[in-house]
Amino acid sequence: MTPLHLCLLLSAALFTLGLIAALTRSNSILVLLGVELMLNAANLNFIAFWRYGPSPAPATGMIFVLFAIAIAAAEAAVGLALVIAIYRHQKNIRLQEANRLKG
């Protein structure tokens, strides 16, 4: 069991937690947080392979993670704006009731 294996197992466990949260909860904010957790788990993999892999270019993994963090921040902002819009429309944020596309 090398440290790389441990890093990958940590990332897999975090991904699974995020997936279970996104599948079970009906509160849309918690679903969004689960998706964020899955994105973070993917970033952990990039850093683990950057640290322990035979890297041809020295900083590729870090640059990949930086861009992924930027996109994740954008996704969080848009997602929570959508949550607020849904709340204003139907007065709660339960995903089961957000089943109409009509504004």
Binding site: L17, G18, L19, L23, I63, I71, A76, L80
Partner: protein
């Protein structure tokens, strides 16, 4: 190695606690610990710049957005009633998640990776900046455009007041 195990245990424990809370505020506050744990992992791996970016963006910004969204959409103290079908759904989701984790763990433990280089790769911030502005300049511009469009779009979506008769 020991520190990695400690970081992993703290991160996973706080994530598991956070995602099982009924109270949204508690969940958001516990997830801050998870994100800080991930930043600690980045520090442990030697990626200092990414760790500080993680702290600034997740621990600082995303958690604040989440807390504001929780406060803006809060109606009553007991907001999330558990409906009868949710136990079955939770059971199925845990089964699916466990299967996926088992598959991933099996694949990871069965894989033989090439031994890592003797010393950790050292990337200075200066070098990182040159790479970002040099060979990845186009991606950096695209990321900037995406962030700008996202800010505008999020503001428009959240500020739209449903005046369909008067769309101005």
């Amino acid at each position: 190695m020991i520190s990695l195990v400690i970081i992993a245990a703290l991160t996973l424990a706080s994530a598991a606690f956070a995602l099982t809370r009924r109270n949204l505020i508690h969940a958001a506050l516990l997830l801050i610990f998870t994100w800080a744990g991930i930043a600690a992992f980045y520090l442990w791996a030697g990626a200092e710049f990414v760790a500080f970016a993680q702290i600034l963006i997740y621990v600082g910004a995303v958690s604040m957005i989440v807390l504001f969204a929780v406060l803006l959409t809060k109606r009553t103290l007991a907001d999330a009633p558990i409906e009868p079908s949710s136990h079955r759904r939770a059971f199925l989701a845990v089964i699916a998640g466990g299967a996926i984790f088992g598959l991933l763990a099996f694949a990871i433990t069965q894989t033989h990776f090439v031994p890592p280089p003797d010393r950790a790769p050292v990337v200075e911030v200066r070098q990182l900046g040159f790479q970002l502005m040099g060979s990845h300049a186009a991606s950096l511009l695209v990321a900037g455009v995406i962030l700008t469009v996202t800010l505008l779009g999020a503001t428009i979506i959240a500020a739209n007041d449903h005046n369909r008769e008067d769309p101005s």
